[in-house]
């Protein structure tokens, strides 16, 4: 490659993480450390009903008996769970009744991030729940959604307004015993989003949550619960950013999706937590449990674009319990510099004629380590189950790693399960072809990578697809040399 394009590339490499600023806002926090008192304090601050506190405490006691998982293909220094603050919230005198009462500094933060909270500035038809550190600060379009019977609010609000729904579905897909980080989340989760779509309703707009970590030395433990009642449809988007800091911050979220008979949930994530600097200092540990449960004829589709975080440990999964249900997983995961990702999915086929599709695209650059880990399990009862999995890896540079660890377990002979994977690099020929047609090196790389990810991007809602492509560009270009 020519030295001129090398210079361009170096310039691009140094491009900054644009969401890395800190908002100066007075925060209310709890002392660092974790014990039953802290959990009681969090629960009290949120004025929670008794059942929830009990559930938190049960989760905490169970967590104490668990050990941190070590099987993932990632390396990090041990986490001191007593050094983390488990609750941080921007100080507000009273709960804001409308956007006008929300601290302007917070609104500014979201505007800076390109998330319009003021409805008049909205992109057509996206309702947003903005989560700042541990709490939801604003939810837009609630009235319009309410007309259709759709509930879209912060988790805390759902606990107050719809405790029966919360009690019924909380932990029904990801029980607090599920794994180490899910148990921790169950004990200390502070807020998140709640969605309920009534039977037969097609949610009139995209729902979106924007997660922002601001405070230092805090962990973010949000919990999202989406229930799509019979025959309903909802599309949900999630985005995340955090300031640049030298210390690592823990983000251990839980997302539960319940798709009842004939319902469909489409869940899209563009994850852009702070990835740490070139030397691997700082960045978010993104240890997340996401799972959906499909009843008969239901469909759950996960689409994720993972460009941020120092370490990603996440396996959005679908339990295909009902007959004829469908699970999908489309993923682009990019690791650059010292980022590490161990991500994939689990498709558990239980019902008859259940189908799943997995398309995973891993891109490794710099010294990044990128692993796909996925499970396809066909239970004995899953007559006629069908899975197709494709995992492709793209390596950029000779110091990165790309790994594929699929698990396939089949107990029904009528099942058809296929897995294929390839590993490749951007070839000199491809680059030369594009550059001799007048494209710069970075545009050429960008084009090739976008082509590589096309199958996943086309699953994203339009605005997200544009953002995802841009993000990929920022995170990646310049990694070639």
């Amino acid at each position: 490659m020519s030295s001129r394009s090398q210079q361009n590339i170096d310039a691009l490499l140094k491009r900054r993480y644009e969401a890395g600023f800190v908002t100066e806002v007075e925060e209310e926090t709890v002392p660092p450390g974790l014990n039953e008192d802290i959990i009681r304090l969090i629960s009290a601050k949120k004025e929670e009903p008794e059942f929830l506190l009990e559930w938190r405490l049960k989760a905490y006691r169970h967590w104490l008996t668990m050990r941190e998982p070590r099987w993932a293909h990632v390396r990090y220094e041990p986490i001191d769970y007593q050094a983390i603050r488990y609750y941080a919230a921007p100080k507000q005198k009273e709960r804001p009744k409308s956007l006008e009462e929300v601290d302007p500094k917070l609104l500014e933060t979201y505007e800076k991030l390109g998330i319009p909270l003021r409805e008049q500035e909205r992109l057509a038809g996206v309702a947003v729940d903005a989560v700042f550190d541990s709490v939801s600060v604003a939810t837009t379009f609630k009235e319009k959604l309410a007309e259709h019977g759709v509930i879209f609010c912060s988790f805390s609000e759902a606990v107050r307004e719809h405790p029966d729904l919360v009690e019924k579905y909380l932990g029904s897909v990801v029980p607090y015993t599920d794994n180490f980080f899910a148990a921790l989340n169950s004990a200390v989760f502070s807020d998140g989003s709640f969605v309920y779509v009534p039977p037969g309703v097609r949610c009139p707009m995209e729902l979106s949550t924007y997660f922002r970590i601001n405070a230092a030395n805090t962990g973010q433990f949000e919990r999202t619960l989406i229930v799509a009642d019979e025959g309903s449809y909802v599309s949900y988007l999630e985005g995340c950013t955090a300031p640049m800091r030298d210390e690592n911050q823990l983000h251990a979220a839980v997302v539960e999706l319940v798709a009842l008979k004939g319902a469909e949930i489409k869940y899209s994530t563009v994850q852009n937590w702070y990835p740490g600097d070139e030397e691997g200092r700082g960045g978010i540990y993104n240890f997340v449990t996401k799972r959906g449960l499909c009843a008969e004829d239901a469909k759950i589709s996960w689409t994720q674009v993972e460009t941020g975080s120092a370490i990603t440990w996440k396996y959005p999964s679908v339990i295909l319990e009902g007959d004829n249900s469908v699970g999908e997983f489309y993923s682009v995961a990019l690791t650059n510099n010292r980022q590490q990702a161990d991500t994939g999915t689990k498709m558990v086929h239980i019902g008859k004629n259940t189908r799943s599709t997995i398309i995973s695209k891993g891109i490794s650059a710099g010294r990044g380590q990128n692993a796909y880990r996925g499970l396809v399990r066909v239970a004995k009862s899953a007559e006629g189950a069908r899975n197709y999995t494709q995992c492709d890896s793209l390596l950029i540079g000779d110091r990165c790693g790309a790994h594929t660890f699929p698990y396939i377990e089949v107990r029904n002979r009528t099942a058809q399960v296929e897995h294929e994977a390839t590993t490749s690099k951007i070839s000199e020929d491809q680059l030369f072809y594009l550059m001799q047609r007048g494209l710069s090196a970075e545009d050429a790389v960008s084009m090739i990578v976008n082509g590589f990810c096309k199958e996943v991007f086309k699953e994203l809602p339009m605005e997200f697809a544009v953002e995802a492509q841009k993000l990929l560009g920022v995170s990646l270009e310049g990694a070639v040399g």
Binding site: T65, W71, H73, V378, K380, S393, L395, I396, G397, D398, R399, C400, G401, A402, H403, T404, F405, P406, Y407, I408, E409, V410, R411, N412, R413, T414, A415, Q416, V417, E418, H419, E420, A421, T422, T423, S424, K425
Partner: protein
Amino acid sequence: MSAQPQPRPDPAERLAAAFRERRARLPGAGLAWLEALREQALERFRAAGLPARGDEDWKYTDVRALARRLAPPAAGPGPVAEDAVRALAFEGLEAHRIVLVDGFLVPGLSALGALPEGVTVMGLAEALAREPQALAPWLRLPEGADGFTALNLAFMTDGVWLRVADGVALERPLQIVHLRSAAPEAGAHLRHVLTLGAGARATVIETHAATAEADVLDNLGCTVALAAGAALDHYVVRESGAGLCHVGRIDVRQEAGSRYVSHNVTLGGRLTRSAIQVELAGEGAETHLYGAYVVGGRQQVDNHTRIEHRTAGAVSRELYKGVLDGRARGAFTGRVVVHPGAQRTDAEQANHNLLLSEDAEADSRPQLEIYADDVKCSHGSTVGELDETSLFYLRSRGIDAELARSLLVYAFASDVLERMALEPVRVQLERRLTAVLLAGREAEGVI
């Protein structure tokens, strides 16, 4: 979980006690380095124990079934009829034959014949008595060895040492026959060492069979070292009885331009755990791992392979195919590791499984771990039943349903056998396969 330290599981304590009692009579006793190795291996076993539940490498193996059958070695070989050995010969194959019974070489049953100059074949016990220093470099506790491998090294009673000097070709294959007599409660802890000098060539066929329905465990280790340009064809055929469990680990190290071809066929045995680890340490080294497992009843097969591309420009090809009937369970775990700097690696890996019954299970983990960018790596895995269209095609040509099924299964599995260069072995295995699949029906004309 109580705070009290858990008492050691019984089999482990029993084995450690047996080792202390037995070690003075094991071959090579008195050789300081070997005694140290055996001690070190036992220590590893005591520290590691047998693989626990939750051990990723042993996820699909019923370790408890193995632990129950794990026993110290017998004092010597039990009686075996000569007919039993003759029955294991491959028709039309001239081979140097060595017979091991219950973990001991039995010269009376072996027929080594004349070996070309530069080729040594001797029992491990004999080699330790005659040329211990020549063998020493090949007897080592592998890094990260599990409890079974550690026990194998602690207890090894015998085995076969094949040494082929530089540039020498062993034209006739060496057949190593493993037999079990009716000896109850004894384990076989064998270790083979196959070393080929630069440019040397050889073919080794290991067959495993039991003359009685012994409910015991064979624990085998094998070290293969191929110098530059050497070539080894290595066949392992398991047709053991329904009670025999089998744990085997083969460690292969290949220098530049060498070629290792493995044909790993499992047709019998209660539970087979086979591990093959290949280090591609020299440029242009090539390794081919082919496996077939055709099992039914309550049989279990767990195949593990690990190929380490440590150098640039090495090639690996891997194809494992499983046919699972009855309540059988077949597992495959294959990992290809491309180390930093191993550019121009060319690796292909595939595992395909056919489920024939309601209760059979297939588990597959084809894995790639890649730290270099200029590589060609791919893997694929499938699990399914017979293709209805193909069945229909055959039936539309007047072939009845049962035969049509058998033909398709045969076609599926024989794909692996067809890669065997030794025709007598291939033909015989194909015949066995048809016998299993067609249950004695005349199909010679069709196939």
